[in-house]
């Protein structure tokens, strides 16, 4: 195992966060605060409670997930796409690092940043509403699993993308709508029965539901199913990354 290689990639990626502190940390915190102002204050005054939890508190897990998903994807995808774009990928391809080491370095750094961000958003939320965490270990597990899974997904996206537009299109046109429609700001039990069934095909529903359960013991789907779906998606991403490096897809000709 090339531990020095993993550490080098990890440190390099974390240094990028320090250089772009505003973009990486401050910007999502500001946008989350705005969500609290708009959704919590404006809509929250009309919807007082969902499943016995105040609306402001109810949306906290969904808001964290929203940032976690988009930031995990954008950090990991940018991390591997930029060396491809600038040409510095030659160094990574010619180095004695294995697939596992490259992925651990890039995805580990992206997931770390996302988990830190999740913690910051949680702390920010405490300024606006009361937040209870009934199952802190489960909450942390969901946080880490989701950050890892979507960082891996972002890594795949970064390898696949061959221009900036493709890099932005998946988070903008796929992830954000799925998150908004996945119960970030409402319980899916509030939807008509047909749409409840349709919503179950959205994988983000399971992440948000499981994560919200760890806070308030309120879930749209069974917690076990949430864990299974998250692990399943993680497995799919791992297999895809393994295939990418085995075949050299979009990396080696």
């Amino acid at each position: 195992m090339n531990w020095h290689g993993i550490k080098a990639i990890y440190k390099f990626e974390m240094a990028r966060t320090r250089r772009t502190l505003f973009q990486s940390i401050v910007s999502p915190v500001i946008s989350t605060s705005l969500y609290f102002v708009v959704f919590g204050a404006a809509i929250g005054s009309r919807i007082t409670e969902i499943d016995g939890v105040s609306y402001g508190s109810f949306i906290v897990p969904g808001l964290i997930m929203l940032s976690l998903l988009t930031e995990s994807i954008s950090n990991a995808s940018f991390g591997i796409y930029f060396p491809k774009f600038s040409g510095t990928i030659y160094e990574l391809l010619s180095a004695p690092v294995s697939v596992v080491e490259v992925v651990v370095g890039y995805v580990g750094a992206a997931a770390t940043k996302s988990v830190i961000l999740g913690g910051i958003i949680l702390a920010t939320a405490n300024f606006f509403v009361d937040v209870q965490i009934l199952h802190p270990y489960w909450m942390f597990l969901f946080l880490v699993l989701t950050a890892l899974t979507f960082s891996l997904f972002g890594f795949i996206l970064g390898v696949w993308a061959d221009n900036w537009e493709k890099l932005a299109i998946v988070p903008t046109l796929v992830i954000t709508p799925l998150t908004f429609l996945g119960g970030s700001f409402y319980s899916i039990s509030m939807l008509p029965p047909v749409w409840q069934t349709v919503t179950l095909f959205n994988p983000v529903v399971y992440l948000i539901s499981g994560f919200r359960w760890s806070f308030y013991e309120n879930a749209d789907v069974a917690v076990g199913l949430s864990v299974m779906m998250t692990c399943g998606f993680l497995l799919v991403c791992i297999v895809a990354v393994w295939w990418i490096f085995k075949t050299g897809y979009r990396l080696r000709v």
Binding site: H4, G5, A8, F12, E91, S94, P96, V97, R252
Partner: protein
């Protein structure tokens, strides 16, 4: 001096790209430890593809590469840690500092941090006073030095320099040649591709010529210049000649760029160069000259001639 054991062996290497382009055709090559090997060839000949396959950036279609006896696919950790690559393009990180990017390169290749070694590398490339500079603020020449420093950061035994002095001013080029000589003196094997034939002539122990994906020649530089090079006798005539007299046809003389120059090409290794006979014939023909000089053809002339012949 060059050792005899091969540090790099390329066996029956072929590369066919997805679009059917055959970039390399059955390449066989051995590089001895500690030598400077120059790979010459026109644009698109396959130089960079060959280097990229050896370094693991491009997959070979068939054949194999051994570095220090280890297969570069199955033993990629051992082989890649022995190799350093300076790419042709100026591909550096943009926002990192010089020292940070070197530390990254060293770590990536599995070496523990060594501040003293990195300082030594930076000083040898006159980069020490730029160590905290962000790379995007450096000039092109300085970025080229950073690329060399990055390639050396993990103490490689084999260094590939793909067009190392392209776009570099004369002074910097001389500095880099000095660095390469010092690397060779420390036992590093250097393989370079270059468009500046003068570079190969100045530094290389051996020359390889690649054209249309085929390695058409591998030769000791001195022997190559001796065997394929021509020697010329240039005579500066008192009076320009309207044309070369028929009685001198046997000498296959050529007029120079100036009408008062007469050029005779000969084989300096032959038993008889024909110079005495030529001078006698000139005297009999009443052709007088005021000065003369001899000239050995350069590696560039040999290379151009060789590539023309292959075409």
């Amino acid at each position: 001096m060059s050792g005899e054991s091969p540090v790099l062996q390329v066996e029956n290497l072929n590369k066919i790209y997805d679009d059917g382009f055959e970039a390399l055709k059955d390449i066989n090559l051995e590089i001895k430890e500690g030598e400077i090997f120059a790979l010459l060839g026109p644009n698109g000949a396959g130089k960079t593809t060959l280097i990229n396959i050896i370094c693991g950036i491009v997959n070979a279609s068939s054949g194999r590469v051994l570095v220090n006896g280890y297969d570069h696919v199955t033993d990629f950790r051992r082989t890649r840690s022995l190799i350093g690559l300076v790419p042709q393009e100026l591909t550096t990180e943009t926002f990192e500092s010089v020292l940070a990017t070197l530390a990254f390169s060293r770590g990536l290749f599995g070496k523990p941090p060594d501040a003293a070694y990195l300082e030594k590398v930076l000083k040898s490339l006159s980069l020490w006073n730029k160590k905290d500079n962000v790379i995007m603020t450096l000039s092109g020449g300085m970025k080229r030095r950073v690329l060399i420093a990055k390639a050396l950061a993990h103490e490689p035994r084999v260094l590939f320099l793909d067009e190392p002095t392209a776009g570099v001013d004369v002074e910097l080029r001389q500095d880099m040649w000095q660095v390469v000589r010092e690397l060779r003196a420390s036992g590093v094997t250097v393989i370079l591709t270059t468009h500046y034939i003068e570079e190969a002539e100045q530094m290389a122990d051996r020359i390889g010529v690649i054209n249309h994906g085929e390695l058409v020649l591998v030769q000791e530089k001195a022997r190559l210049m001796r065997e394929l090079g021509k020697k010329q006798l240039i005579l500066y005539l008192d009076d320009p000649l309207p044309e070369i007299p028929r009685q001198l046809d046997a000498f296959d003389l050529q007029m120079g760029s100036d009408p008062d120059e007469l050029i005779y090409s000969y084989d300096s290794q032959a038993n008889s160069t024909g110079i005495t006979a030529l001078l006698n014939e000139l005297r009999q023909a009443g052709i007088h000259f005021s000065d003369l000089k001899t000239k050995q053809s350069s590696l560039e002339e040999i290379f151009v001639d060789l590539v023309k012949r292959i075409r």
